[in-house]
């Protein structure tokens, strides 16, 4: 599904974010990417979204060369991918309902579909009673659950979760991981970046370890080893 071929990202001679990365991620996998801060985890996932372009090498999403994608096709590609960030990246001036509705509008869904699906997905992430709340009125865990709801609303093929538990307490972390596992069980591919040992061990799936921009381990039933 996703192919990294000899991918490097160099900002300047001292700023090597990724170096000669070769990776294949298959459909339906749950892949955790681990590494210290600055190891290149976020740069790696940003390349799948074409939010960063590699200095060398190519990134393919199925048959699409993400580096050479046109603006119009980029919009279409991003609609096939759900994204969850450590800092939530919710739209501050929109309510919980509107944040999710916006993602559906972007995907061209009708008003009827939006009014049916949004309350349903908010119930799924246990935010049914916070439908009219603005992000600043939600706790960290609630914000992250809202971000997950937004990521899954268009039933994407892939969910990228970039340090989704970085700002959460252990209980919220557990809940977020359980939601991601359920989504994966339903067939959606998950790429999770984290440096939380507990998260990796509770997932118990493939783990890719990055160190100074290089892939140093790729274990099928990985453990947290840095």
């Amino acid at each position: 599904m996703i192919y990294f071929n000899n991918v490097s990202k160099i900002y300047d001679k001292d700023g090597v974010a990724l170096e000669d990365v070769n990776l294949t991620i298959n459909a339906g996998e749950f892949v955790s990417i681990v590494g210290h801060s600055g190891a290149g985890k976020t740069t790696l996932v940003k390349m799948i979204l074409a939010d960063e372009r590699p200095t060398a090498g190519t990134v393919f999403y199925e048959s699409i060369n993400v580096n050479k994608i046109k603006n119009q096709d980029l919009t279409k590609l991003r609609r096939r991918i759900g994204v969850v960030f450590q800092d939530f990246k919710l739209l501050p001036n929109k309510t919980a309902y509107e944040n999710i509705a916006f993602a559906m509008e972007a995907a061209g869904k009708t008003d009827e579909e939006i009014s049916t699906d949004v309350p349903h997905v908010l119930e799924l992430v246990d935010l049914g009673d916070k439908i009219s709340h603005f992000p600043y009125q939600l706790s960290g865990g609630e914000k992250q659950r809202l971000a997950i709801a937004r990521a899954i609303i268009n039933q994407p093929e892939l969910i990228i979760a970039d340090e989704p538990t970085g700002n959460l307490d252990p209980i919220n972390t557990y809940e977020v991981v359980q939601i991601l596992k359920k989504i994966n069980d339903l067939g959606t591919t998950i790429i999770l970046t984290t440096h939380n040992q507990g998260v990796i061990e509770s997932v118990g799936k493939r783990v890719i370890t990055l160190e100074r921009g290089k892939v140093v381990r790729d274990d099928k039933d990985g453990k947290y080893v840095i």
């Binding site: 603006n71 001036n93 993602a103 509008e105 972007a106 937004r150």
Partner: protein, 305 residues
């Protein structure tokens, strides 16, 4: 159609939720539109004053005593055909005498001298008014040319006062064209400054939302879906600022109308009311254009991610 409806709705919601930031942008847009309105009124005063000065300038063709009226009328109609001429008025010898007596009714020696002559010593004259002050010269040249002489009028013309007034007319002409150029340049500079200030204020409001724009793009929103609501918001700034500006200028022009009409020579309140529709259209279009274009350019730089 659904997308357009959503964009417009989002624009209104954003405007409402942005609170003080929106009203700051409206305030700055109002200042710009007020500058434009003030300059429209100033130009009106300038053109009115220049028009009044222009009206005082004319060329008079004096005919010899006893010049036949049919020849004068022939010359009058050929002058009227000139594109530069706005108006030609004929004053007969009898009328000229009547006007002269009226003007000097308290000047006893002059009237007595006139009575002693017995007959009318004054000739008829034509008063020629050009469309532009700069065109008097070409009218005077026409009178000297063969065209005028062909009809045999050269012998009946006593004098043309253009050459006596030439210096004054030329000076007036350069003052008028200078004032028009200066007025236009000042207007242009002031409007440009106001536009730059408004553009930067709107850019600042969008700078605050730059992360939001990035998130919208990441969840797969098209460029139009992202910048559309900002452009609608810009249009709302323009519409509200137009209403505020036009309301503000109502008491201002009333004050000018009451207190400054004799000084300016023009009742600004009357001018404002009688040209209200044109001013409204100019200000509304400027406001909307300013808001929409500024928002478009301000969001563009954050859209390419």
């Amino acid at each position: 159609m659904t997308t357009l409806k959503r964009i417009i709705k989002a624009g209104f919601i954003n405007f409402k939720r942005s609170g003080l930031v929106s009203w700051a942008a409206v305030l700055v847009t109002t200042i710009t539109l007020s500058v434009i309105t003030a300059l429209i009124l100033l130009q009106a005063v300038l053109y009115f004053s220049l028009g009044q000065i222009q009206d005082k300038v004319d060329v008079t063709i004096y005919f010899t005593v006893g010049a036949p009226e049919d020849q004068i009328m022939l010359l009058k109609s050929s002058i009227e055909k000139l594109p530069e001429v706005a108006e030609v008025t004929y004053t007969s010898a009898e009328e000229a005498l009547r006007l002269f007596r009226e003007r000097h009714e308290n000047d006893y020696p002059t009237i007595q001298a006139l009575d002693e002559i017995g007959e009318n010593p004054l000739g008829a004259y034509l008063n020629v008014r050009a469309r532009e002050v700069s065109e008097y010269e070409s009218i005077a040249n026409f009178l000297k040319s063969d065209n005028a002489l062909v009809i045999g009028s050269a012998s009946i013309i006593d004098k043309v006062n253009y050459h006596q007034n030439k210096l004054v007319i030329d000076r007036l002409n350069s003052i008028i064209s200078g004032a028009q150029k200066l007025g236009f340049l000042t207007t242009l500079v002031l409007i440009l400054i106001s536009i730059v200030i408004t553009f930067n204020t709107i850019r600042l409001t969008i700078f605050i939302a730059r992360e939001e724009i990035g998130v919208m793009r990441l969840v797969g929103a098209s460029k139009a879906r992202v910048n559309g609501p900002f452009m609608v918001e810009g249009a709302i700034y323009g519409v509200i600022a137009t209403i505020i500006t036009l309301v503000i200028f109502l008491p201002i022009t009333i004050w000018f109308g009451r207190n400054m009409t004799s000084f300016l020579g023009l009742d600004l309140h009357n001018y404002y009311l009688s040209n209200f529709f044109q001013i409204f259209i100019i200000i509304l279009l400027s406001g909307i254009l300013l808001g929409v274009v500024s928002s478009y350019f301000a969001t563009r730089r954050y859209l390419n991610k």
